[in-house]
């Protein structure tokens, strides 16, 4: 009798732990940079080294969040204009992506390698939302996860402002690089 109970509870433990072996990967020091240089003589690009991102390995649920004022430009005046004239960063301090990696099951988190991934979800910039699909690479190295992606952001879908499409490119070329813990 006692052996049965013990066996039962142990197997229950294993069963649930197998089910619940769900890990949340997270980082607060991811990097997103973008280049939106249009016809303007000066490069319009910035980098943000404080990207906050989390990812659940089993469900593929993923969140990427950035503070707009943490985007650093080489030219402080450009940074002011970015915050003031385009991003309204006092009103909308953050931009984020909330979605799922649709093919997360193809990523073997236990095995070193590089896996192509697709993320689908809602991108919110300047208070405006859009369903978008991004492709990237999940890299497992010594059990650590890194996600890299190059993607384009159609600025007119999010931001109102003059010069978009002329001096400022209509599409910002962006790069994401997140090393998760």
């Amino acid at each position: 009798m006692k052996k049965t109970i013990l066996a039962l509870s142990i197997s229950a433990l294993f069963a649930t732990s197998a089910m619940s072996q769900q890990k949340v990967y997270s980082t607060k020091t991811g990097q997103i940079s973008f280049d939106a240089t249009g016809t303007c003589a000066e490069a319009i690009k910035a980098v943000n080294n404080q990207v906050d991102s989390k990812l659940v390995d089993k469900t593929g649920q993923m969140v990427v969040s950035v503070l707009i004022k943490s985007f650093k430009f080489a030219n402080a005046l450009m940074e002011d204009h970015f915050n003031e004239n385009y991003m309204e960063s006092t009103k909308f301090p953050k931009a984020d992506f909330k979605g799922f990696i649709t093919n997360v099951s193809t990523v073997n988190f236990a095995k070193d390698g590089s896996y192509p991934v697709t993320a689908k979800g809602k991108l919110t910039i300047d208070g405006r939302e859009k369903e978008m699909t991004f492709t990237g690479t999940a890299i497992i190295e010594k059990g650590k996860l890194t996600i890299k992606s190059n993607f384009n952001v159609p600025l007119n879908d999010f931001i109102r402002g003059s010069y978009i499409g002329t001096q400022i490119s209509a599409e910002a070329k962006a790069t994401l690089n997140c090393k998760y813990e």
Partner: protein
């Protein structure tokens, strides 16, 4: 013995059920929303772009140029508009200043300039307090500015070389009320090393006020008034009104003013033309263009 076993079983079950409980409900979307709310309370949002550029019209504004940025300023103040067509509404004559401003850090800037007539000026401006909301709630921005004016013109009436220097000291207190309205108050002292006679004071005080109204994202209406506490003989208070127009790296300031001087001493203490009946009104402009000289350390691609 039986009790021990039961306890063990219970323990195993508790651990197992606890595992199930934690396995459920990992919703990153929800936790992110909560995080955003928390961040809003715990972070400090520093107010930027109180004014469009580092000058209101003639005087300093609370703004600084950024670290590693050179700001080239070309300013003109033309003759009085009342000259009419004969003098092309004052455009025939102009006082000109060329200035170079540089941001050593985001809070400290220095600048030099030359105005025709052998006038050099130099200044430093330091941002002491930054207006902010959130965790640190600071209602105003405060900067300190100090300047020197050096007259190089030949003047046989001067006894000492030091007579050629004037100094100015300012405390700038500014507040951006919202996206449309910013105001600043500027207590100022102007020091003359040399005055015409011994009954005159060497120090003069003024409290300047200035403001901007945003008309569109790129155009501001600005105004600036510097009343003198002790009026110097033959002078009047400086008042200017104008527009700031920003186009990317340029800021154009077009204005009407009764001052032709462009350094602190000249426009605050030595304005002679009067606004009444528009007889003493001059048209003028400042053009500012910024250049990146040194890449700030924070920007590494």
């Amino acid at each position: 013995m039986v009790f021990k076993q039961k306890l063990f079983t219970l323990l195993v079950l508790v651990v197992a059920s606890a595992k199930i409980a934690t396995a459920q409900d990992v919703d990153l979307f929800k936790s992110q929303d909560e995080q955003d709310k928390k961040d809003k309370l715990n972070s400090t949002d520093y107010i930027t772009a109180t004014f469009k550029t580092t000058r209101m019209v003639n005087g300093q504004s609370i703004e600084n140029v950024g670290e590693g940025i050179m700001d080239v300023k070309v300013s003109h103040r033309f003759g009085t508009i009342s000259q009419g067509a004969y003098g092309l509404w004052g455009l025939d004559a102009a006082t000109m200043r060329i200035g170079l401003d540089y941001g050593i850090t985001n809070r400290l800037m220095v600048g030099v300039g030359r105005t025709n007539g052998g006038l050099f000026d130099g200044f430093a401006k330091y941002r002491l307090l930054r207006q902010s909301t959130g965790k640190v709630n600071m209602p105003v921005s405060v900067s300190l500015a100090g300047g020197t004016i050096w007259r190089t013109q030949k003047d046989p009436s001067l006894n000492h070389y030091s007579d050629r220097f004037n100094y100015s000291g300012q405390i700038l207190i500014a507040r951006k009320f919202n996206d449309f309205l910013s105001l600043q108050v500027v207590p100022t002292i102007i020091h003359y090393n040399s005055v015409a006679n011994s009954t005159l004071s060497n120090d003069y005080y003024s409290v300047g006020i200035g403001g901007r109204l945003r008309l569109t994202k790129r155009v501001n209406l600005t105004a600036e008034y510097y009343p003198q506490f002790t009026k110097r003989e033959g002078t009047t208070n400086s008042f200017s009104v104008g527009f700031d127009i920003e186009t990317g790296g340029h800021v154009f300031q077009f204005h009407f003013t009764n001052s032709t001087g462009m350094d602190d001493r000249s426009f605050i203490e030595e304005t002679t033309d009067k606004w009444n009946s528009a007889k003493g009104v001059h048209f003028g402009f400042n053009i500012a263009r910024v250049f990146k000289i040194v890449e700030p350390k924070a920007v590494k691609m």
